[in-house]
Symmetry: D2
């Protein structure tokens, strides 16, 4: 068994990592850190884990951490991660970083959208942890930057179209809707039950969400030229799930048959991408609790556009599940290990 630690176990990503790792046959969860809950059993912080783990949350130094595990999931906020990760790497550890700190390859862009970067020298070696696009890099990496939840849902949906030049990049509009786990577990009036329940709203309207440069980075790489998009996130009164609806003008007519081939070629061997049957569209409740990304699309002939709809569970494929997928790849384990459960519905 490989020894694995979660740094920052008290958030929703942390508990989901713990849930997955509890049942992982190759990884053993040997440490979970939390400053706030240090001394408390993880199963007291998250009673769903009672009987599944006896770990106690600890506030550990890097040295202590390095004694306790060889593989690390850094589930701490950006900025905290960039100070922590280099020390782990220097000790020869493997790290999947779930923060934004190593996702943007261009330091200036990172510093424009976030803040000064304290360890930019590690950005270059970080693999972007979207296995469907970067599997080989991930397999060789000792540091993987786990993608943002919105970017995961958007990039997988548009990748075949951009690679093939089927859409006009200047016309891409992405309208995304996220469950509330995406807002984290900090005490906050805005995410209280009574504020979110039975409601729906847009936020960061006008191209100001920090996942935007990450999405554009990946779409630009696929397009082999800079892409600028409009992206509007919304907050759903659900716990888990992101559904992204993406629009783009077609550059030339394309048949449903050709589209299907295009998507199949890219994804039919992928363990965690499901192409829905023609005329079916994703729903967050059908990927809930799983590492799947579901994809559906339709051509709007009247307007000469394609609409691509994708759904993921934002804390699985959009965070913890994809992180475990990446770690499996980094360790040479069969890549879907520990991630095979079917989505639960209802």
């Amino acid at each position: 068994m490989l020894r694995v630690a979660i740094i920052g176990a008290s958030g929703y990503t942390g508990v989901e990592l713990a849930r997955i790792l509890c049942n992982h046959p190759e990884f053993e969860l040997t440490a979970a850190t939390s400053r706030q809950y240090a001394g408390k059993p993880l199963s007291v912080v998250f009673p769903n884990l009672l009987g599944k783990t006896d770990l106690v949350c600890e506030n550990l130094s890097i040295d202590e951490l390095c004694n306790r595990a060889d593989l690390f999931f850094a589930a701490v906020p950006h900025k905290t991660a960039m100070d922590l990760v280099p020390q782990l790497l220097k000790e020869g550890k493997k790290v999947v970083d779930l923060s934004a700190d190593y996702r943007l390859r261009d330091v200036a862009t990172y510093e424009e959208w976030y803040q000064e970067h304290s360890s930019p020298e590690f950005i270059k070696e970080a693999a972007y942890g979207l296995p469907e696009l970067y599997r080989e890099q991930i397999q060789k990496a000792r540091l993987v930057a786990n993608p943002g939840c919105y970017p995961t849902s958007v990039v997988l949906g548009l990748a075949p179209l951009l690679q093939e030049g089927l859409i006009d990049p200047d016309t891409i509009i992405v309208d995304s809707k996220s469950g509330t786990t995406g807002a984290g577990r900090a005490a906050n009036v805005g995410t209280l039950f009574c504020e979110v329940h039975d409601g729906f709203k847009a936020y960061k309207v006008g191209g100001t969400h920090r996942h935007l440069p990450e999405i554009e980075q990946e779409l630009s790489a696929l397009n082999k030229d800079k892409v600028t998009i409009s992206f509007t996130p919304h907050l759903l009164p659900i716990a888990r799930g992101i559904l992204s609806t993406s629009y783009a003008n077609l550059t030339s007519p394309v048949s449903e048959n050709d589209l299907r081939k295009l998507y199949s070629n890219m994804y039919e061997m992928e363990p965690f991408v499901r192409l829905l049957p023609e005329g079916s569209f994703p729903a967050t409740q059908h990927v809930r609790g799983s590492n799947f990304c579901d994809i559906g699309y339709a051509i709007d002939k009247r307007a000469n556009r394609i609409i691509v709809v994708t759904a993921i569970d934002n804390i699985v494929k959009g965070a913890a599940g994809q992180a475990v997928h990446n770690m499996n790849l980094m360790c040479g384990i069969e890549e879907s290990t520990g991630l095979g459960g079917a989505p639960f519905f209802p």
Copy 2:
């Protein structure tokens, strides 16, 4: 007191009409029809109305209806309405029709998206019941076609921009999200609690929803030229509310100040449109139970687009409330009568 009847009182629009009319100082609800629940008190079908009305649901002929009331809300499905409404008009009654049957001015378009029309001669005289755009016609009308819920939310948001020529009509994309009351009260597996709850999905993707020609009709009228848009509806796990996010390319640079003037000029005297402060965006939970349409917008400078976000309560401003607003106008009553309640939050 004016005598008012609801034809088709057993749906969600019916109960909301009844709720509003119970407290309306000028209208007296004198009949409520329902084939399915004939003989049952309305307050047994909808226990929220207990103590507010003693009406019993009845299955009434047109003649009986005409004896019982002078003003009619037709809350029956399309096709049923087109057979019913002409008879009421011939008896000199005033009618607000909440179906789609008189909304589309072009019969051929209606017949393409719905079915053959049995009383096309009444289409011409029907006023389109969006008071912010058609107040004078409504005041003079004996038949008002109450707008669809999606069209209400979209048209109000884009009207000032199209009137002023500020956006390129070919680039309009509308991504709408509706609460489940929009799907009606028929027994149906797809709208069971366990299917909708904690989930989110797109439907009618690719430009196939029947509200599309209605939206385009109104946008074309504002644009004074034919407009073709992309429109994608989604189903929200909430009861009441529609939030529409609309995107369009700007035809020329425009300042926040000019935009505010534009929207203010159009809406500042409107009793049911609220422009949100700069940087604020609508949320369905802030219009819940009210006849308000909230509007916010932002310019996405990177992409040279404007994003307009609107929120309504789909069974109030999108149906029953707007219908009462229209009837107030048709009867020469102060137009906000019976509709003054503040939205309830949370």
Copy 3:
């Protein structure tokens, strides 16, 4: 118009008071205090109120408050209220206090369950603001202690049975379920959307909730002898509503007919109590947004028990609505003024 102020306007009770007062024909809301949001328009703190009030939240001294209004709703936490209320009374103001500070007539009991009382001399003159039981005292009072939400839902359901001696007080068990507005609007991990949504739990199990002595005080008064009950509150994933299911052994056989007479005698003239038809039981969604308390009951012949089920909207009949009802009574206004809206469903 009578000048009314809300002290502590930034909680869910505060916004509901504001919502009701915005449409009250006799009261004018002239001040709203909030330390946290001082300087912000109330309609920015609660965007549902946009267009309904221009009030700005202020941090006012007692003197300033006394200049601004004659009637006060104190919607501050217990302990804060007991320091504040006496000063208002000394200035000749009328006060409805929504905290627990003047509800318990026995100071020792108050101090056992809460803390030391700084103004016990005012407890005696405070009327307990349950109009169905204390209407005359309320009409004469200058200080009304607005009942707790759980007590309101329990006492109204059991009052006729205890008054008539039909149940054995030693066997009373109350199982209550409350919506999350009852937990207030403070930032708190336990009431985050993702913690409450799609879940259900008991809390304060074993007779430790502070509403217990209040319930027992009122049941004891009805019973004319001390009553000790078991009371278990639960947290519902809904915003508004309390449903209480109360159980007690019957002291002697009673017919459905006699029971109905008993309840009708007590409540048929009450504007805000609805007895449901035989075989029907309350649902929180049927009182939502209204000041109604719905009551249903059934005899369990096999076990010789009666089960009484009551439903209220906890922030209306359980807080803000009942407070306005009380103030109407204190001011000699028709008691249901401003509270006549039908519940909204769905």
Copy 4:
């Protein structure tokens, strides 16, 4: 691999059985029947299963079924089951019946609460499938009557107390709350999203729910004398979960320490019962998606009662999961096989 079939795969229990069996290492799902969806892939009926199973729903005769599998989960309504099960047994098959048809050992009681029984001779040999109480019988059985969801949640909570004679059986009151999956997947106005969402209600008040005789049967067996209880079910606006709050008078004083020993003795070796730490109480969101039954309790010293709170996922431990647990036992497989996943939260 053992060949397993689901008879009646189109309900919520059916899909959950399929979800569990998809990942079960010893069972292979070889047939799934549904009259309504015959010819449709199970993954079209339930898109969460896409990529996890290629089974197509079929309408199979008993003979065809017997050729296709050796182990059967009968997830059909009561009455249908009693006609079907005997034929499977005669062919030498093993059956877990999830209907009520073989749960009640007394035929007269069954016929009083349900209808005439067509195969009463099989009742005697059916093991009651609550492994914590009937493990040995289940291991030897060819027919297991899978318990009802409410009975599972109630009996496990009260069993230690009744066995030890610590509570007065005449004082037992059970207040249960169930998620909406318990109401099934039939099209029905009463379980539409808009009827259930953001609401809460009691139903079958007064001792009329069909799970009552089943609960009393098991409590009576534990008590070694007839027990009559009051039982009130409620409908929660959640998909999965039952929380039962049970009350009873203590027959003699008992320490927290002794209680803990009592519960530990009974459950510490059980793979699917979790005793919560002192002062903690179950929440449905902490057992979601798992086969756990969580138990907490408190003594109400003021009233001399014990309150026991239990939580299960009603379609796992209350249906599909317990059924698989039973089948594991019947087949001599390690009993928690396929059921080891941690609950997912949030």
